[in-house]
Amino acid sequence: MAQLTFREAIARGIAQEMRRDDSVVFLGEDVGAAGGVFKGTVGLLEEFGDVRVRDTPISEQAILGAAMGAAMTGLRPIAEIMFSDFFAVCWDIVANEIAKSRYMTNGQVTFPLVIRSGNGGGLRFGAQHSQSVENWAMMIPGLKVVVPSNAVDVIGLMAASIRDPDPVIFLEAKALYASKMDVPDGEIVDTLGSAKVLRQGSNATVVALGSMVPKALQAAEELATNGIECTVIDVRSLVPLDTTTILREVSATGRMFTVEENPRLCGWGAELASIIADEVFYDLDGPIVRITTPHIPLPAADALEDLAIPSVERIVNTIHKSMNS
């Protein structure tokens, strides 16, 4: 058992898998000698050498194209896209090539690859370096989408993603990189498509993802002191989606609130809301409410960014108001 930061967990998860499988290779910008701009890959170059851990030019299409071509010919590449905002410069490779080629070829090719990326705001990086792009990936058929919220999950879900035969977009909340927790020794392997119920309550179900999970938990504690008991679910993976857990828990409380970092329109919460409003409509006792960043580009100033991204206070107030109206 050791205290590990979220960022250290990344390297540990990758190293765990690189040790057991020679076909796992890793490429990206400044990932080797520098250990990554977020220091998420420190030590990998030293342990695995520069044939398996490779620094690339600033060529995101080449990085992901290389990962795709390598995956379809026997390797299991992990590629880093430094900030998830940069998916926009290589979206074709992700959305049109990697996601679709297995289907188009009627299963002739398989893409066991992971694309990991720093995601979301909180570091005052402004509109082009702070986006939460989980919905970009979720809306493309053929991509799995994993978003861990703590160091232990990072390791286990990273391992599961690397072992998974399908392409996984692995989004690491930048706001959580510095967070710490106790991590057991030894191999950790988790399962994709399993949400976690972190807290059980009878009044409402709060569904959160990534950086919003700690906030949702804290909000639930505050709400409990006001007599509103919430179930809190950490979604963990958007595709595959653990609808079993989510439908069950929402049915149990009759109310659902989502807490989303992405800008409002067409977020994962909208998808969940539509599933709930279709499949367990008659179990609902009141409106489904989404707590999201407003539909705006993210501002850089600390004061503005804090206003934009859902805060514990906003979560508490929104749920409180909605439950009492």
Partner: protein, 335 residues
């Protein structure tokens, strides 16, 4: 069917005859594909290589069965040249269950991994970095496989081209970038929108590569230059880029009569049709007219049989619709 793929162990003349057969097969296949489109058997779009066959034939002849081809939407010829039988390709164009991808990909995405045909890609430039990835995998695993990626003259102005070329050069990857310069994009002349005269060759230096231009209507020339490039790649000397000058006889895609091209230009290139030229060369080299007629009839028969087999294919249904999004064979995104 007889394989249209020419293996290098053939005798000198046999090898040339095989390249001829390949070109004839590509031509006959595509003429039939065009007829089938007119008869409304082929749905969707398709892009023919009629006039450009010497390239597919020459390059394929220079490759080993374990090497990889990455093609564009204009990929029928490259798929056939790697030895993929005609029937599943016809059937794919018709959207049948016996299609190469059971109808799920269509004309623009022909893929046959067992023949080293690693896919046809319909977004300009995308496959160039992907081919780098396959080459990287060969390099990493220490095999001597080589990846060949074809692209058009109009494709040299897209970002992915640039990223792939630099990446391959820096990592010294065993990949050949093969430009089929047929002078035209869809309906726009490439030279109208390209800063250099030889769209690929004049940019080789920007990636530290040699500038290589070849007559794309001469299968022997294509074979030679490609063989050299592949040998360099296998020897760990990194990528090459080859620009072949050629011309498509027809329009860009099935719906296009190609009227925007000057009559003289087309006439001039029809005179350079690779197939009669190659045929004459074989005759000069002593191959008999009779042998060639037999060969040509044989291809005719192959096309005929394949057409019928393809037409006999079933219509795909719900089971195929929801098959193979994921490696588990299914399409479910939830539990």
């Amino acid at each position: 069917m007889t394989s249209t793929h020419a293996a290098p162990e053939l005798s000198y003349l046999d090898h040339k005859v095989a390249m001829y057969r390949c070109q004839v097969a590509l031509r006959q296949f595509e003429q039939r594909a065009y007829d089938l489109f007119l008869e409304n058997f082929v749905k969707g779009t398709s892009h023919l290589s009629i006039g450009q066959e010497a390239i597919a034939a020459g390059v394929a002849a220079a490759m080993r069965p374990t090497d990889w081809t990455f093609a564009t939407y204009r990929g029928h010829a490259h798929t056939l040249a790697r030895g993929v039988p005609m029937t599943p390709i016809f059937a794919e164009l018709m959207g049948r269950t016996n299609g190469l991808m059971a109808g799920k990909g269509g004309s623009m995405h022909l893929t046959s991994v067992e023949h080293g045909m690693m896919g046809s890609y319909a977004i300009i430039g995308a496959h160039l970095p992907i081919a780098c990835g396959a080459a990287w995998s060969a390099q990493y695993r220490g095999t001597d496989q080589v990846a060949v990626a074809f692209f058009g003259d109009g494709s040299v102005n897209i970002g992915a081209f640039h990223e792939a070329l630099n990446f391959a050069a820096v990592w010294k990857l065993p990949v050949i970038f093969f430009c089929e310069n047929n002078l035209w994009m869809e309906y726009t002349r490439t030279s109208d929108v390209t800063a250099v005269a030889n769209p690929a060759a004049d940019r080789a230096a920007a990636y530290g590569l040699e500038s290589i231009i070849v007559d794309g209507n001469d299968a022997d020339a294509v074979y030679e230059v490609t063989s050299l490039a592949i040998a360099r790649a296998r020897a760990g000397e990194g990528p090459s880029m080859i620009e072949a000058k050629t011309y498509r006889h027809g329009g860009h895609s099935r719906a296009d009569p190609g009227k925007y091209r000057p009559d003289e230009e087309l006439a001039e290139w029809l005179l350079k049709d690779p197939i009669p030229l190659y045929r004459s060369r074989l005759l000069e080299m002593g191959v008999s007219e009779d042998d060639l007629l037999v060969l040509e009839a044989d291809v005719d028969a192959e096309v005929e049989t394949a057409t019928n087999e393809a037409k006999a294919g079933g219509v795909p249904g719900e089971d195929l619709l929801l098959k193979d999004v994921w490696a588990d064979g299914g399409a479910s995104w939830r539990n």
